[in-house]
């Protein structure tokens, strides 16, 4: 309860700060709260150190999140973007950073545009989380792919973008390339391999400690006993620079396609301060389009691998491949929005390490309805069902197959 109180006080301070910031020209801050009633069934949540794919494990009234998303124009072509998230849980401080970067946007002198981001930011993956505070515009809970992005991916470094809207094509087409070089983020992949995919609305902050399940292999006397029982996904472990390369094509307001190759170039045997480096590589494709009848379609697909530990019999001690995709259909009717999403996800295993079966596969359905009463207040209700086969759950005395369900009625406030 003390924590809730602390959060409330901090939020009040943030509110005042945010409101004050709006008065000053060139500074914009969006303050947001998601709170409401939630009912669920399924395994105990991963956020409590278990394996459940949902964020909560009790029914009741919850404060999902409070955030401040600040954009400051320090000069006409220089923007500072800082996003703070407040959570009422025990995974970190009440309020912490999710993103903080400066972006230089020099004025275009031709149909080519150049952008440079410096700081800590999300890799350019999600097509869902496009609103202030990295909120999903379409649902309360992000897809499995973007939930993983929120849990474990953050790039600290530089992202350089070149984009062109050629006049010779009537301005209908925009082509962009984003190249990022980053440090940190070496433990990324720990949660995906050892916990699996999840579906929720929690974004990891920079000093969060994200709990691992009580894995047999991280117990005293076992192969990875040096691993903390939690993950600090944004740490630098091996002093190697990672990168991603993303290419995008946008055709008017009709079609957007993005494709990324990501490699954190981590050294799989490196360990520092009880956190392992995981070599995480993936390819990502995202497509967004408007179908006839003004129905929006968003789909993303990701496949990759993550490895950690010494090579034993031609595979790293933990060596998994993963893939996920989702398709989301959404339609607005004046102040109403209806969205439906199908997620599919799996993790397969190449290593033979005993008592470390990380393979899983499953799918999720999300049905969401939002009513925007005003620009400030909206009400969302969402039903979510995730069915998973995860063989390693037997280590914890849990059934290796589960259908987890969640129902939410959430008030979203933005000002």
């Amino acid at each position: 309860m003390g924590r809730v109180l602390t959060t409330a006080i901090l939020l009040a301070v943030l509110t005042v700060t945010a409101t004050a910031a709006e008065i000053v020209d060139g500074h914009e801050a969006v303050f947001g709260i998601d709170a409401g009633y939630l009912s669920m069934s399924g395994h105990p949540s991963w956020t409590e150190g278990s394996v459940g794919k949902l964020r909560y494990q009790d029914d009741g009234v919850v404060l999902n999140r409070a955030f401040v998303d600040y954009n400051g124009r320090v000069a006409d072509t220089l923007k500072v973007h800082i996003a703070l998230e407040g959570y009422d849980d025990n995974l970190g401080s009440a309020i912490d950073f999710t993103q903080a970067y400066v972006e230089w946007r020099p004025l275009p002198k031709s149909d080519a545009r150049y952008r440079l981001k410096l700081g800590a930011f999300y890799p350019r993956i999600s097509l869902e989380n496009v609103d202030p505070g990295w909120s999903s515009r379409y649902t309360l809970n992000s897809s499995a792919i973007n939930t993983w992005v929120a849990e474990e991916l953050r790039s600290t470094g530089a992202e350089f973008t070149i984009s062109r809207r050629p006049a010779s094509l009537g301005g209908a087409h925009t082509f962009s390339v984003n190249l990022a070089a980053f440090i940190g983020n070496d433990p990324a992949g720990s949660l995906l391999a050892w916990k699996g995919w999840s579906v929720h609305d929690r974004q990891s902050r920079f000093s969060d400690d994200l709990p691992l399940p009580p894995l047999p292999q991280i117990q005293p006397g076992m192969m990875f006993e040096a691993q903390d029982p939690y993950v600090e996904p944004f740490q630098e472990i091996d002093n190697k620079v990672g990168y991603y390369l993303n290419a995008e094509w946008q055709l008017g307001k009709k079609l957007l396609v993005r494709a990324m190759h990501y490699d954190n170039r981590a050294e799989p045997t490196a360990i520092e301060q009880c956190q392992y480096a995981w070599k995480t590589i993936f390819n990502h494709i995202g497509v967004q389009t408007t179908l006839p009848g003004d129905v929006g379609l968003i789909t993303q697909w990701m496949t990759g691998s993550t490895v950690m530990g010494p090579v034993i019999d031609s595979a790293h001690a933990v060596d998994v491949e993963y893939a996920a995709y989702f398709a989301l259909l959404t339609r607005t009717f004046d102040q109403h929005r209806v969205s439906v999403r199908y997620d599919h996800f799996d993790v397969s295993q190449n290593d033979e390490t005993e008592e470390d079966d990380n393979s899983e596969n499953g799918h999720a359905w999300t049905l969401s309805y939002q009513y925007s009463y005003s620009d400030t207040i909206s009400l969302a209700t969402e039903w979510l069902s995730i069915k998973t086969h995860h063989y390693g759950w037997v280590y914890y005395g849990l059934a290796p197959m589960a259908t987890e369900r969640q129902f939410q009625l959430t008030l979203r406030v933005r000002f």
Binding site: D25, G26, E28, V30, D69, R73, D76, T77, K79, R105, L107, P108, K109, S110, D111, R113, V130, D131, P132, R137, S163, R165, A167, S168, L169, G170, G171, A172, T174, Q250, L251, G252, K253, K254, L256, Q288, T289, T290, D294, V295, G296, L297, I298, T330, R331, T332
Partner: protein, 221 residues
Amino acid sequence: MSGWFLPRHICCALIALLGMNVAVAGVIEVRVVGSDGQPVQNVAVFIKQAGVPSTAGETPEPVVMDQRDVRVVPHILIVEKGALVSFPNSDAVAHHVYSFSRPNNFVLPLYKGTPPAPVEFAHDGVVTLGCNIHDDMLGYIVVVDTPVFGLTDEHGSISLSVDDAASNYEINIWSPRIRDSNDPLVQSVSAIPADDVTFKLQKSLRPPHDGQSESVGWDEY
């Protein structure tokens, strides 16, 4: 009584003189049809009198190009050379309007609310507008060297009045959606009333940039 009338030969001469010196105004109806036979709306149409330079005269009141819902409204504006265009911002967020289209390139400072002074467009040509904060914002100002211009309606049509029905005219159309050519398409007419002037496009149109879809977002926060 008969002395009240002018002699017939003088009368004929006068009529001939009037016919030479006083032009009869006419109307040119222009229609733009896509390769699929559908009318094309919002095409810039401008008509030049062959061999007669434009007499861009007084500076009129500024024309407005608004920024609303993170869009440039209207998406296409057509003005005569020398026109002033003001750029108010109806959004709660700041915009940073610029154009790299030489020689009409310009930059407005970052602003919201009260707009800066109107911009004069002293050269003809297409001016592409963007916002340096919202990359998806796009607008066009078609600056033309003639006072006879407009945009096609939902029927793909526009009627424009010209001063002299007996003169030769050059009819130009331009839209960013037209793929037949990036320069204006031109037809000449020499007799008015001629049949309606129809531009039948050979290639399919590019998709519109100013789509009204709100189901998915195209600009990240």
